[in-house]
């Protein structure tokens, strides 16, 4: 009775998938994007739909791009740290408000504080796809030449910042 073998076969197919999945770190940038030019984008600004925000704003300086959304608890978790970072003014932080809705996202920034120079409003997630966004929150570090030098998935903390970001920022000569 072959039909009783179906569950076994289905699960057997799943195993190699999980196996390969294990060898990939979902927190790592897929190799195609790392050390490559950051994908260009231009989107309406979250707070001021008449303006646009995009790669052109990053010009010639090291920039942080943080992907966030109001439905994402991890974003809430890292928000206070982003605010601290913004106060320290090491580098400009841009937001990519991803698959969200405008009134809620606007309120979020009003209530919690706004660490971003500006947030691009990526309602349908198109730019997110170009950037290989897997989930929110994600944070990209883009150098002065527009090259993606680091990507972090999951909430940002002081510890991760000091460990993964600060050395790269120092190496680039931005005063820390």
């Amino acid at each position: 009775m072959t039909r009783y073998l179906v569950p076994l076969v289905a699960f057997a197919i799943l195993i190699p998938v999980l196996m390969i999945g294990l060898t990939r770190d979902p927190r790592e940038l897929p190799s195609p994007l790392l050390q490559q030019a950051a994908p260009q984008f231009e989107l309406p600004s979250l707070l001021d739909p008449a303006r646009t925000v995009g790669s052109k704003d990053f010009d010639n300086q090291m920039t942080l791009l943080n992907v966030w959304a109001t439905w994402c608890p991890g974003c809430r978790q890292e928000h206070d740290f982003l605010l601290q970072l913004a106060r320290e003014a090491v580098l400009p932080i841009y937001g990519l408000n991803w698959r969200d809705n405008r009134p809620e996202a606007t309120r979020w920034l009003e209530v919690l504080g706004n660490p971003y120079v500006a947030s691009a409003f990526d309602e349908e997630g198109r730019v997110g796809i170009d950037w290989g966004v897997y989930g929110a929150p994600e944070t990209f570090l883009i150098d002065a030449n527009g090259i993606v030098v680091h990507k972090h998935i999951a909430p940002l903390t002081r510890e991760i910042w000091e460990r993964d970001f600060v050395p790269l920022i120092r190496a680039a000569g931005v005063v820390q």
């Binding site: 990939r24 770190d25 927190r27 608890p73 978790q77 698959r99 309120r107 919690l112 796809i129 897997y134």
Partner: protein, 653 residues
């Protein structure tokens, strides 16, 4: 010294678990009574040693022994004692130990209450549980030893993640795990039945109370997690479709299907192979959930420390257990084809629909959870699946399911006469339709299609659930009262009705407002006036906080005071929001401090959440229904009667 003794106790527990896993299974195969007799003794011994190891780790936490690495990274001196204890399961190593402890406890409970089962069957059940336990103990000892020392020991620890310093979350893992682990009992019963080759309806009856008990714990565990998310990080949300939430939800959905399909197998001898497959799947999904959480294969806010070595170990374990079980299934199941039939209008049909819809729902959650991983493995890029997708996908099987429950409950086995069904159900249906149109309009002043569908479904389930209990109360003297099983079913279904009502009303009529507020100022939201009386500094044991005193009035009349806080935890330097919630049965008033805008001006998020308590209350009522059903006398009596009388099942069917 105590941590080393704990470590040693864990090694002894592994030895006993291996005895418990191997000897009774061999004994049952050879019909060797002496070998089978090892089962219960080894299980008790294993529990004692695991409990000892767990106690040793707890001791290290309470004593703040920072020479133990696990304690040093998850505790600190100023942590309140209650959280020092809950910190034991606050991260990977300790929660694995908790898992093993609960598995040992379930095993001993099975041994204790299975004296009326055939000896070979009980030996096989305990043996299978012993093998599972051996796997988890090996995993703990080889990759995740919680007793590892740290030298030199730090003067103070790194503190427990502030998110976890909360009574709701202290209780969430033990209860959730009791559910996960509980499904291993249903799994062991299924394996034991397939090994013995004796697959009549009895194993279904023996499995039922255990499955229901596990499901009950899982229900409460998930509800606790959701409640915690609501007041601790949710900003008013209560479910996020996070991979780890999904990992607990899939076994719940399959477990719910299993409970219903076990009823058919027990009563009518149908769906046998399907029930076996569900029993295997419920536990397999629990294991898969563990794998997803512990291996770091998916990104989640809940994710534990990621470690590929651990991932490979669990995957190997997962593969052995599930492939073994499914191979056994492929071998035994073909003999189970049943020829008994049933009419289209019968309880069997509705339980079949229930199973199909629940399995479809679980499959959709499974696809949404694993899709990003699968797509990445095939190098097709990276995709993301968010709450919008889950909400739509999940509603598709769920809406017909909740509407069909009412009919299914009132339908007889084998064949149901349409006329009687119609006359019983017309009144509840009418009440539900009136309520569905009336409630949104009268209480909330607005109509909507989705709201009406939701309210109709919930009132419909509630009304139909009441029929049997009411009839039982009003029965004539001498007539038998309804059985615990039937009462349990009615209660659990009414819990579902409450849950659906809560979800519907809160999603439709929730009001949110974000405003700047300073002491002396007042704002109005949803007819309530919120006045900030004062702001003050508060010192906690390991945090300092700013607390707002917000007085709430309605039409000038005092309703209550809430104290939302913004806490800074000193060791990890992280900020946490403690919402101030004024709860009443039919609404929550939720006040949270946002950010400091000026001197003493704060942005404040105020929410009016009607009926949100029904979400968790409904889940609790479902669990109570499960509890009532597990205490049905039938399970105990038949267990005693089965050994001599084999035809007994046929009589009650």
């Amino acid at each position: 010294m105590i941590p080393e003794i704990g470590h040693f106790a864990l090694i002894l527990a592994l030895s006993l678990a291996l005895c418990q896993g191997i000897l009774p299974l061999v004994g049952a195969h050879r019909n060797d009574a002496a070998m089978m007799a090892v089962a219960r003794t080894a299980a008790s011994g294993q529990l004692i040693f695991v409990a000892f190891a767990f106690g040793a780790l707890t001791w290290a936490f309470v004593q703040s022994d920072f020479s133990v690495a696990y304690v040093a990274s998850h505790s600190q001196l100023a942590l309140p004692t209650i959280y020092k204890i809950s910190a034991v399961w606050g991260a990977h190593e300790g929660s694995l130990l908790l898992w093993v402890l609960l598995l040992a406890a379930w095993t001993v409970a099975v041994g204790r209450f299975s004296h009326d089962l055939p000896e070979a069957f009980a030996a096989r059940v305990v043996g299978v549980l012993g093998l599972l336990s051996s796997g988890f103990l090996l995993f703990t000892l080889l990759t995740s030893n919680p007793f590892m020392r740290l030298s030199p020991a730090p003067a103070d620890g790194a503190d427990l993640n502030p998110l976890l310093q909360d009574p709701g979350l202290a209780m969430h893992p033990p209860i959730l795990y009791a559910g996960y682990v509980g499904f291993s009992v249903a799994f062991a019963f299924a394996i034991a039945a397939m090994l013995s080759g004796n697959l009549d309806q009895k194993w279904a009856r023996w499995t039922r109370p255990w499955t229901t008990a596990a499901w009950m714990f899982l229900t409460v565990g998930i509800a606790l997690g959701s409640w915690w998310a609501y007041y601790e990080l949710g900003w008013g949300g209560w479910w996020f479709w996070d991979p780890v939430e999904n990992a607990s939800f899939m076994p719940w959905l399959i477990g719910t299907a299993l409970i219903h399909s076990l009823a058919v197998t027990e009563k009518r001898g149908l769906f046998k192979s399907w029930t076996l497959l569900l029993a295997i799947s419920a536990f397999s999904l629990s294991l898969l959930g563990t794998f997803l959480v512990r291996s770091g294969i998916l990104v989640s806010v809940h994710a534990f420390a990621t470690d590929p070595e651990r991932g490979f170990f669990i995957l190997a374990f997962l593969a052995v257990v599930i492939i073994g079980a499914l191979a056994l299934y492929a071998w035994r199941a073909p003999a189970l084809d049943s020829t008994a039939g049933f009419k289209p209008l019968s309880r069997e049909t509705f339980l079949l629909l229930n199973n199909v819809l629940l399995v479809v729902a679980a499959a959709l959650v499974f696809i949404g959870t694993l899709a990003p991983l699968v797509v990445e493995v095939f190098n097709a890029g990276k995709i993301s699946v968010g709450p919008p997708w889950f909400e739509v996908a999940f509603a598709i099987p769920m809406i017909p399911l909740v509407l069909l429950i009412g009919v299914g409950m009132r339908t007889a086995w084998r064949s149901q006469d349409f006329g009687t069904l119609f006359s019983t159900l017309k009144w509840p249906a009418l009440i539900a339709v009136i309520a569905g149109i009336g409630i949104p309009g009268i209480f909330y002043g607005r109509f909507g299609l989705l709201v009406s569908v939701g309210v109709i479904a919930s009132v419909w389930i509630l009304a139909v659930s009441l029929i049997d209990p009411v009839r039982s109360l009003r029965r004539s003297a001498g007539a038998p009262a309804m059985s615990r099983s039937m009462l349990g079913m009615s209660v659990a279904h009414s819990g579902l009705g409450m849950f659906v009502l809560g979800v519907t009303v809160v999603s439709a009529f929730n009001i949110e407002s974000d405003q700047a507020l300073r002491p002396g100022n007042s704002i109005e939201v949803a007819g309530y006036q919120f006045e900030m009386r004062e702001l003050r500094d508060v010192e906690g044991p390991n945090y300092s906080a700013i607390e707002g005193l917000v007085e709430i009035r309605k039409d000038g009349e005092y309703v209550g005071t809430v104290r939302p806080q913004k806490r800074q935890y000193l060791v990890q330097q992280s900020w946490m929001t403690e919402a101030g919630i004024l709860a009443l049965w039919n609404r929550d008033l939720f006040v949270a401090l946002g950010d400091q805008l000026g001197n003493d001006t704060w942005s404040v998020r105020i929410q009016y959440k009607p009926m949100i308590r029904f979400i968790w209350l409904g889940a609790l009522v479902m669990a109570i229904g499960g509890l009532i059903a597990t205490t049905d006398r039938r399970y105990r009596m038949t267990a005693r009667a089965t050994r001599p009388a084999t035809s007994e099942v046929a009589k009650t069917a």
